[in-house]
Symmetry: C2
Subunit: 192 residues, 2 copies
């Protein structure tokens, strides 16, 4: 199982955003939708062994955590609106402190990074980290940030996480996930 | 300069598609929009040394070729709608056989793959090709297909193109571009 978690610092935490304006009304929900795409899609197939957490920290009800599970998810297409509609459905679901299913393979609960950090051991992609290609073994859970840097409070939470770099250039979160998936694919298939 | 060209087999060739339905009314224009994103975006920066050609083969006026130039493009955001709106503007521009500018950094002309093949020497990402990481030198122009395979007529045109594989799994075109960019970035910075 591979796990990706992405912090959406201003991502809307109810369904009150427009699919026609994911960047604005969704609080850069477009970034998170592309991360969902990069986490799950193969050509004509879905990665069933992936879980993706979206940690939404924006107005009006943050933080909330949305969990997408490749093993059970349905009705997910590669376009941003498709992921945006699924997330909207989750955020329209009344939830408490435990995950509640909103649709096949998508669940939602209150709470954010602090709790998720107690449940998974994350590595953090970081341009100053160790080269992912040279790492002896790779972690199976990665925590990324959206278009904004981690906050000081988040940096404190993740200060002991190992850091890996995917290359010499600083990439968008979804592109980073794609490169990580490629490295994991190669190792699984003994291509490297 | 790095060049990416993507064939959109059913991509709409006038501006008569809805930004609210890029997959349907746009003839899978969403795929091409994600390829534009993968071609140009770095975190908080644009790759100015990239050109991206979209070869649109759908109704009602195909084929047309849209050229996006990183050196001069403006008003491009990472979300699919942003690229979709720029492409729409190009397709609403009356054009002939030579490129005509529709907005900064985006041009359009009639004609498709056959002509573009006389202007660039393309390599083709192919799951059965040589491993890109093991290639001595890399090409600087890549031709990809959208969600459909190349047609028989296209395969004839590209039969002499070198083929490279990015990994053991068959990826979406935009993910393939992201992995190719990562390999090119690493080589330019002598990271490999």
């Amino acid at each position: 199982m591979t796990v990706f978690a992405i912090v959406g610092h201003i991502a809307r935490t109810d369904g009150g955003y427009s699919l026609n304006d994911l960047p604005g009304s969704g609080g850069r929900m477009d970034v998170l939708c592309r991360c969902v795409n990069a986490s799950f899609f193969l050509s004509h197939d879905l990665r069933r062994d992936v879980e993706c957490y979206l940690i939404l920290c924006g107005e009006p009800a943050g933080p909330k955590t949305v969990k997408l599970s490749g093993s059970t998810i349905r009705s997910l297409s590669p376009d941003e609106r498709s992921a945006g509609a699924l997330i909207k459905k989750a955020l329209d679901t009344v939830c408490g402190n435990e995950f509640r299913e909103a649709a096949d393979g998508i669940r939602v609960r209150k709470g954010g990074l602090e709790r998720l950090m107690t449940e998974h051991t994350f590595a953090v992609p970081d341009e100053h980290g160790a080269d992912i290609r040279k790492a002896g073994t790779l972690p199976d859970a990665f925590l990324l940030s959206d278009h904004l840097n981690f906050t000081e409070a988040e940096e404190l939470l993740i200060k002991d996480c190992p850091r890996y770099s995917v290359g010499p250039d600083c990439l968008h979160a979804d592109h980073t996930i794609t490169v990580l998936q490629n490295e994991l694919d190669r190792r699984r298939s003994q291509w490297t």
